[in-house]
Structure formats: C-alpha cells, structure tokens
Amino acid sequence: MKKVRPWLYLLPSLILLGIFMIYPLFDVLVYSLQEGYNSASQTYSGIGFYNFSYVLRDPYFLQAVKNTFLLVIITVPLSTGLALLLSLALSSIKKVKELYQTIYFLPYVTNTLAVGLVFMILFKKTPYSDGFINMIIQFFGGNSVDFIEGPYWAKMLTMCIYTIWIVLPFKVLILTSALASVDQNLYKAAKVDGTSSFRTFTKITLPMIMPMISYLVITGFIGAFKAYSDEVAIFGTNLNAAGMNTIVGYVYDMLYGNSGGYPSYASAAALILFAIVLTITVINLLLSTKGDEAE
C-alpha cells in the first residue's frame, strides 16, 4: 500500500506526460522506421532506415542543415559576447539605467512576426523603396543589395542580425542579474589590492558569472538549432524556395507544407536534429565541467 500511494498521486501528471510527451516520442521513432508510409491509407511497406537515407540525400535537407549550422555558429558566440558587453556597460552606468534596461528588453516581449515586419521595412527592396539599410549603403556610395530575395550571403546576414537581435534581451537580462549578484566586496578587495580593471574582469568577474555564461551558451545552441519561426517572419513560409530553410522548417514542411504528408521523413529529420543537439549539448557540458575542475 505504501508503495502504491505515491504513484497514485503522480498518476494525473504521469498520464498527461505519457500522452503528450512519451507516446509522441515513441511514435516519432516508429514513424521514422516505417518505409513507404501512406498517410491516407495509413499503411507502410516495410521497416528500415530508408527514411534516414532519403532525408540525408535530400538537397533541401542538406541546405537546411547548412543554414542551421551557419546560424548556430555565427549567432551563439556573437550574441553571447554582445550580451556580455552590453551587460557590462549597463552595470557600469548609474543614471537612466532602468530606461536602457527597458529598451534592451523590448525585443523579448515583442511578437516575432511584428519584429519581422520591422526588419522588412529595414531590409526589403520593393518597387517603391530599397529599404532603410540600402538607403544608408547608398548614402555612403555603395550599391544596394537585396537582403530578402538577393544573394545567399545577404539573406544569411539578415537572418543572423535578426536572430542575434531577438535572442539578445534574454541574455542581457540573465547576465546583468548575474553581474549584479557578484559580491561587491570582492571588487572592493580587488581595488584595495590595486588590481587593474582588465585583471579584475578576467580573474574575478568572468569566473563568477561563468555558470550563467555556460547556461546561456548551452540554451543558445539548443535554441538556435530549433530556429524556424524567425525565418518565416522574414522569408515567408516557402523557405525551401528562398533557400533559407532550417532543420525544424524542413520537418514542418514534410508534415504540413506544400510537399507535406510525409510524417516518416519528418520523423527521420527530427531524430537527426535530436542527435545533433544531444551531441553538441554533451560536448558543451563536458567542456564546462572540465573548466570547473581546472579552476
């Protein structure tokens, strides 16, 4: 009886978790192994790894993987570094600090699609205007670039700026509070001992906020790998045509897009993404715990 009761209390949440978390996870695995699945008749021709090999040979998927990796590699370090600089600047000012904090936090509470609209105004070329950024480029004597429908690097640049801008507020928020929670007496002690500000930063500030930085890097990697809605906000729903699809975008397209109705391919792609994220996170964790031991 004693052993049954705790499980009884857990039952409601276990049932919900089972239906909405465990079963779909299991189902994805099943789908990914069912070859030639027909969603209309719900039949399949066999079991095997064909779905994986199809997905891995699909140029759209490979493009999506490339896009996703580029986004991750560019935006995670840049946004974390930028957030650190901004947080340091924010913690060093006294007047109008709240105002700046509010401004930096605004993107976090702004709707992704609304932000996308603003970016359109900034970057998009229309028959009437080349967009705000192009006006600036032209002012300095450059040639205007189509950032939304132009060359790949321009689209990738727009995407990176957008992503960094949208993830920045959360990181600034976390880092400013991490900086504020460092014991001020440590800085006083360092000051009395004549520590240079660079050494104070590298020897005291950085180690003290390191746990928060590694948290941001890990969640940043995971978040960037799962990017999708930001791409839609800028390039519209037909991401394959724009060449700006991401892995999650590919999964979505396989399920519901124009080429939709292929849950098996979607599942295989989702599992590949899962494997990638898992690997990166494990590496991240290993690196950050190793750093702790070396201290």
């Binding site: 440590l186 006083k188 360092a190 009395v192 001992d193 004549g194 520590t195 020897k203 201290e295």
Partner: protein, 363 residues
C-alpha cells in the same frame, strides 16, 4: 606609519528617499605608529565610513588624511599601500587559499613586478604568520569561518602594507572563536608591528586588544584614549553607558546644599552649585554595607561563581533595574532592602547635557 585625520568629514548626499546624512563630522585624531586602534561605536555611528576613508574606498567631503607626513587624501586606494580585511572577508571563492594570498602580489606591474618564486615565498610567509600554511590548496568554501578570517588577514598582509584595516573582524565568528581570534589579531599585529585600525561595535572586543580606543556616536568623536582610561574616566554619559558589561547604572540625582542626593538618600558632600544631575555608578562601584547611605529594594540575587549580581531597584533609577556586582563571598541577608556604600571613583556625575562634571569629592 602614523595616521593623522584632520577635520575629516563625510556627508552622504540626499537620496531619492533619504535625507542627507553626515556620517563623520569633523574628526581630528592621530593614530601613533605601530599601534592597534579600535574605532568603537554603535551601528550607524560612522566608524566604518571612517575606516573606508582611511582605506580610500570613500572620499572625504572635507578634511585631510595623512600617512606619516604625507597627505594621502587624494591618493587613490591602490597607491595608499593599505591592507584591508572586510567584514565578510571577501575571499575570491573560485581561487584557492594560496591563489587568494598571492593575488595582491600578482597585481604589481612594471618595476615592482615580482617573480613567481618570490610571490610564492611571500605568500607562504604570510600564511605561516596566520598559521594556515597547511590549507594552501583548499577553496575558501572548504574552510571554517575562523580559517577564512586568517586567509583574509594573510591576503591583506602579504604586500606588507603600511596600514592594516579591519572592518568588524570578529562579528562573523562564534563566541568561542571570537576570543581566540582576537588574541590572534593582537599577536599578528605585534609580530608585524603594522599600524592597525579596526572597527567594532563590541566594547569588550575593543577593550581587550586595542592600545587606543576611539569612541564615536552619530559621526562625532566622543573620546580617544587608552581603553582603561576611557572606562575609568568617561567624558560623557554616552561613553559611560557604552563601555562596560554589565552596563553602568544611571540614576536621577540632584545637588542640594553641597550634597549629592539620589531619591531620598544623601550620598556624600560635593562642592558644586545646586542642580539636577545624572549619576552613573559602575556595577562594581557599590559595596554591601548595612550602614551605607544608598538604600535599594532587593529584587533578585544571581550567583555567577566568581562574583554575585545583585538585582535591585531604587526610586532614582533611569532604567528598569540596577545590577550590582559584588564578590561572591559577600554575605547578603535576605530582606526587602539592601544598603550600599559607594566607591567614589566608580561614580560619575553628568550635567543635563550629559557631559561629565568634574568631581573633587570629600566623601
């Protein structure tokens, strides 16, 4: 290195929700070279602010600070050559004891830059001085409060500062550790001979180890002298009340026709004009005496082994009860009243503005 404070004043400007505060008000005193000095006062009296100004963490609003003959008022903290021990110790939690102690030496640049070998030797020497040389590879979190305190002192001393400053050095330690640590601070100070200033609100702590004591109240210096001298000759009622455990007994009294009268008791003759006075009597200043002039009603007797506390009341009291300490062999009869005679040098008179009235008694 002697320290001279000249008209030192610190005013914290008015904040959004707080009025302007004068934390330190025109301080003048001189700390002789090589002495251990306690800044003593209740919380909020400006003693930490004074310490921070000597350290250089706060800039004075007015006045000057000298180290020796050198005016260091505008010298930045890192060039003052002071060592500071913070109340919370402020040890770097991610560094080992050794790295913590080495930290100040590694800061030196240019000509003063030290070799790794020298730094390690100096760190070891400082660690030995405070007897933590066996804990060098531990992190501060793996140390007890007392050990952390020692590390903080070693870190402050490792660069051989001219002046050592300690902010409430014992307040984070438990009672037993406090006793041994204060002896330890005394020993370290005497071994190094460094001029040391420490801040405390605990009068017993201040009295037990300092060469000189500075008593402060509301940013104003009350008295500066040797601890025993301050205890024996407080300049005002505040100082008299602040020093001594149990606290001094304070009573309303008056001078009438050249006699000191407390309540209905005529105590002794004094050569003073008629006036109302406050009378402070140290707990050890009363002797049980069946013919004594001071009549109290007995409330309770507490036997504490070495001595006995007599709790009693008197109509002139300014507090709830009086506590009188008598030797434990004193015979006390169990009755409602108890009579005392007084030791004149343990009794102080204060005028209505609470300043001490000089007394040439002829009891």
């Amino acid at each position: 290195m002697k320290i001279v404070l000249e008209n030192l004043t610190k005013v914290f400007p008015q904040g959004k929700h707080t009025p302007a505060v004068t934390a330190v008000d025109h301080f003048n005193f001189e700390i002789p070279d090589g002495k251990l000095v306690a800044l003593l006062g209740p919380s909020g009296c400006g003693k930490s602010t004074t310490l921070n100004m000597i350290c250089g963490l706060e800039t004075p609003t007015e006045g000057k600070i000298f180290f020796g003959d050198e005016d260091i008022t505008n010298v930045p903290v890192e060039n003052r050559d002071v060592g500071m021990v913070f109340q919370s110790y402020a040890l770097y939690p991610h560094l080992t004891v050794k790295q913590n102690i080495m930290f100040p030496l590694e800061n030196k640049k240019g000509k003063e830059k030290l070799g790794k070998q020298v730094i390690e030797e100096k760190a070891m020497k400082a660690a030995k001085l405070v007897q933590i040389d066996s804990l060098m590879d531990r992190k501060p979190s793996a140390l007890s409060g007392g050990q952390q305190q020692r590390v903080a002192i070693a870190r402050a001393l490792v660069k051989q500062p001219k002046v050592l400053l300690l902010d409430e050095p014992l307040s984070n330690l438990d009672a037993r550790l406090r006793l041994s640590t204060r002896e330890e601070i005394r020993r370290i100070q005497q071994e190094t001979g460094v001029t040391t200033v420490f801040v405390t609100h605990d009068q017993e702590e201040a009295m037990s180890i300092s060469d000189l004591m500075v008593v402060m109240k509301d940013g104003v210096l009350q008295q500066m002298d040797k601890p025993q001298e301050i205890y024996d000759n407080p300049v005002n009622l505040f100082v008299a009340k602040f020093l001594g455990t149990p606290a001094i007994n304070v009573l309303h009294g008056k001078i009438e026709n050249g006699k000191l009268v407390i309540g209905k008791n005529v105590i002794f003759n004094v050569d003073l004009p008629d006036q109302n006075v406050s009378v402070g009597i140290r707990p050890e200043g009363l002797l049980v005496d069946e013919n004594g002039p001071f009549v109290c009603s007995l409330q309770k007797i507490e036997k504490l082994g070495r001595d006995t506390s007599v709790i009693c009341t008197h109509e002139g009291m300014q507090m709830d009860h009086m506590r009188i300490v008598v030797p434990s062999e004193t015979k006390i009869e169990n009755s409602d009243t108890i009579r005392f005679s007084l030791k004149p040098h343990k009794l102080y008179l204060f005028d209505e503005s609470e300043n001490r009235i000089a007394l040439e008694e002829d009891a």
